[in-house]
Symmetry: C2
DNA sequence: ATCAATGATCTACAATAATGCATCAAAAAA
DNA sequence: TTTTTTGATGCATTATTGTAGATCATTGAT
């Protein structure tokens, strides 16, 4: 049942994309967490009613698509998801840049901070893969801690290293991947909510 | 479970559009006829695997669509179905016209046949609703019988009355329905298979 | 260090899907 | 007219989902 596995994966991906835990989704959908765990792992052959409730909670809907329309539909699904992803990524990157600016102001004259800010700006001009989003979030969080003085300035070096790592990974993947889907999605500007 | 009912209806509609009986679909899909009957009437809350097998046999696929992409997807589904329908309808109408031509040649000089042919040509210029397709098919079949001499020429009158009935129904529905979805679908020309 | 969150796994039970026949009533075909 | 086809319904049985808890192991946060 490849199609059943595909549906399971779609559900899991959508949940993760929304940053929901299984327990939260359980509350939203009315399907118990233990069952959601089994569903996501492809361990049960779900009934339509259960699928529809979970999908609803994930802002999705179940459709039967004629084969002839399938590629067009797949393309719409992909582009809708990419849009959501790229908006989210842009938000996180903007937050990271703001944090770097704030830190630079707070620790004016610190060469490490200036370097970090410069690197972050550089990073914002590179197309990053969707999986980087979590790491960017973590970096923003760490910068917030530096701004409020909750961590030692010595951790700046760790942050800088992580930024460099992200950059190197993106550059490396860009070299070895075909010209990028996420590049064009990431470069999409504006906010064309329908 | 409105969504579940919608899925059931989609399955039934698709089956009927392909002119399959439940027993034939049962053979194609591996799901027993008695179960298909229950499914189509919304009497069971189907498992994904069963749905996928039936959909496959009906040249359809199950997709999870993000809400933001839904209207675009619905529009593709509708237009794909309308294309299939209009092509099918054009085929049947062409067959009917050919049969009328053949009959006119075979029974040259018969006033009834000439009148019938004229009426059929007139009908082909009217936008007919999708549900007329079955009746058109039946008419074409009857004309074939007249050509081969398998029925009495006296049944010409019955055929003529049916053609008139179809015409009157279409005209009547056109008057009382908003300007037509099926008009534009029917008027689609060409054969733009992707 | 402890506590909280997370996903995975288990249990027992009730409800229901799914299956494979058979049959019926109505409609269609011969 | 009879026969065939069609969709609906019934039956008995098996397998599975779904539920509601509880708990575990791991990870992350404090």
């Amino acid at each position: 049942m490849n199609a059943v596995i595909d549906i399971s994966k779609s559900l899991k991906r959508a949940r993760e994309a929304k940053g929901l835990s299984q327990r939260t989704l359980a509350d939203l959908s009315g399907v118990p967490q233990s069952h959601i765990s089994k569903i996501e792992s492809g361990g049960v052959d779900l009934r339509i009613s259960s699928l529809v409730e979970i999908a609803l909670a994930l802002d999705m809907e179940l459709k039967l698509v004629p084969r002839k329309g399938l590629s067009a539909v797949n393309s719409i699904i992909r582009s809708t998801q990419a849009k959501a992803q790229s908006k989210s990524m842009l938000d996180v990157m903007a937050k990271l840049q703001r944090a770097a600016d704030q830190l630079n102001t707070a620790l004016a004259g610190d060469r490490g901070v200036a370097q970090l800010r410069s690197r972050i700006n550089e990073l914002s001009r590179i197309s990053l893969p969707p999986e980087s989003e979590g790491k960017l979030k973590a970096l923003a969080k760490q910068l917030q801690k530096l701004i409020t003085g909750k961590t030692e300035v010595s951790s700046l070096q760790t942050v800088l290293e992580e930024v460099n790592r992200l950059r190197n990974e993106a550059v490396h993947q860009r070299d070895s991947e075909p010209e990028g889907r996420w590049r064009s999605a990431y470069s999409l500007d504006g906010d064309d909510d329908a």
